[in-house]
Symmetry: C2
Subunit: 381 residues, 2 copies
């Protein structure tokens, strides 16, 4: 084991959104320099480091040059130029997760193939080249059409119940994913270090907002049987190990009405389903991401008995400069932690922040979730 | 109660050392802009915000102009230009703590007079104008000579046992403080909001390094009687209330061998004796400082059953670019949190970072303190 520090002082992160912001927050405890690449001068990270570089993380030259200025490169979004990362790796630069892992995951088609190759249970799927090709798959419905690239937070996903819905389908290379009857949506975070050691966080249960198709709130640990916990954790580890890459991975799963657990999607980075770990776990997802980059031992994923996380999204009917209602009331609650992402503008459904709640039991936590959801609003001024 | 947010988006902090760094770390969770003024381009905060201003916080013009660019001004060091703060207050700018509170505390003579005026028990003292005047106080020995201004971390303090020690006395306006027989050194943090509401943290017990005269480690809560806890907390509240200012205050005390509790010194800001609150308390000292600035309700000061904080100071015989030994081993310990301050250069006794430990009982915590003290070293490369 290496015995001195710093091992890598310059960390480059592709993407400067809220995940980067929370990564920086934790990283300030270590003697490291955080470099951020993001196209927007208003990104949540833009003012948080003197090493902010405005530029497009999808552009080969930009990523390649940015990578050369740092010791280790990581991501907070997977839609980045992987060719530049492959080339940086060839030159010996540390890229975490690996360029191959990012490439596999950022294309939802390759991601589904990966599950198939490694015999990881996942819902059945088909490739479709464009909108016209949808009609070859009428017998496969109901299904979700997912654009292979650039989808996130419900964008690039549409539900096709019958052939009548084809009109609203996407005209881009996509996959069709067989709809399954879902009992619960789960997520498991796995931290995998450079030597292949892993730590798994408690399984969480995600409750989705039906309008925005993004996480409304989560509770941790998930209220499922011990056997289901065991299966979910094993499955998550199988995904992380099969990617053969160090990194932090969020594996989202469906617990079907038949009691089967299927992998839905994997994120090769910190994830919304792990925000509660900042307060609920000894070492948060962001802390473990940093430990992996620095070659430090993984942090403990032991967690509070009961925790929850509520997303604060822009209220319906409000667009423009944001202000927050209910901050006073919610700040006064014990064991309730507000996180605002520093976004200037709100719009309906935009993730503006989140609130974490920890407690000794679920009644207490659920009560606080209800208060937060009722009081705290992101509105326009 | 005001119901919308942000209330104050631009926060100016005088000083950019480790306290500012930890303040920023917490402040990233809120939608605020942190502006930092520090004379050094290498300050621990220098690269952590795009709003870093290099300049002298002791200079009237610099502080005055800096203050005009922000909504609320606070400090992480008390040795600042208070005249500029008085003038900014006159113009309606929010200054927390108040210019008067800072002025009272930054001059150790005025601070001692303040204790006298408010009948706050403190060791006896005398004013001395210069080194030559020391000889008028031979009968007052043994005593500590403390320079009235600019002292910190043991600097500007010297012990005068007999007249033979006068040669090493300071030739600046000072106070002589009667030496007392100390059983334990204690500290109590008080958060006082803009409306005068207060929250008090558990009393902590400080163990000093005899060479560097700064905190070696602390344990929280202090191992003293319930009655002593009550007296210490009341005394701390009396100090904070008597300053008639919002802010975070650290009140350091002596528990004498006779069982008396005397106020030693007050810091009108976050303090080394509160670093453990980041992990050990629901709301840390930095979170409460921010809440006070923003006009939010005070956060809960409820804390873990047992906590400790160990300062990492530069090792004897090492000066120059820093590296850290033992980070791997200490990172592997559960419930042990390393904080490095990002200082480039180490020198013997310089505060380079700290480690917090939390636990269910003191045996566990004390064991980890021993490991940290043995393993973790700040050395030169």
């Amino acid at each position: 084991m290496k015995n001195t520090f710093p091992l890598a002082t310059k960390i480059g992160i592709l993407g400067g959104g809220q995940l980067g912001r929370m990564f920086i927050e934790n990283a300030l405890r270590y003697d490291v320099e955080i470099h951020i690449l993001d196209p927007s001068s208003n990104a949540p990270c833009a003012h948080l480091t003197a090493y902010f570089v405005q530029g497009d993380f999808k552009d080969y030259e930009t990523v390649y040059k940015f990578g050369q200025t740092v010791d280790v490169i990581s991501i907070e979004i997977e839609h980045v130029n992987t060719q530049a990362l492959f080339d940086l790796e060839k030159e010996g630069k540390l890229v975490i997760p690996s360029a191959l892992a990012i490439q596999t995951i950022k294309d939802k088609g390759l991601q589904k193939q990966f599950y198939e190759d490694y015999e990881i249970p996942s819902s059945r799927f088909r490739f479709v080249e464009n909108k016209a090709a949808l009609k070859e798959h009428i017998a496969f419905l109901p299904a979700f059409q997912k654009a292979r690239k650039d989808g996130y937070d419900g964008k690039g996903v549409t539900f096709l119940k019958t052939a009548a819905d084809f009109e609203q389908g996407f005209d881009v290379p996509s996959i069709l994913e067989k709809a399954v009857d879902i009992n619960k949506e789960l997520s498991v975070l796995v931290a995998r270090d450079q030597e292949g050691n892993t730590e798994v966080y408690p399984v969480v249960e995600l409750v989705f907002d039906p309008v925005y198709n993004l996480v409304d709130y989560l509770i941790a640990p998930a209220q499922i049987s011990e056997k289901e916990v065991e299966i979910a954790k094993k499955l998550a580890l199988r995904v992380a190990d099969s990617l053969h890459s160090p990194g932090l991975f969020a594996i989202e799963m469906f617990l079907t009405k038949e009691g089967e657990i299927l992998v839905n999607e994997t994120a090769p980075r910190a994830h919304n389903s792990g925000h509660h770990t900042i307060e609920a776990s000894i070492s948060s997802q962001f802390d473990n991401q940093l430990r992996i980059l620095l070659g430090l031992p993984l942090g403990s994923t032991k967690s509070y008995k009961a925790a929850a996380m509520i997303n604060i999204v822009g209220s319906e009917g409000h667009s423009g400069k944001v202000s927050y209602e209910g901050i006073q009331e919610v700040s006064a609650l014990e064991n309730v932690y507000i996180h605002l992402y520093g976004k200037e503008e709100t719009k309906p459904g935009r993730k503006m922040g989140h609130v974490s709640v920890i407690g000794a039991n679920f009644e207490d936590v659920l009560e606080k979730i209800a208060v937060v959801k009722e009081k705290l609003k992101a509105v326009s001024r």
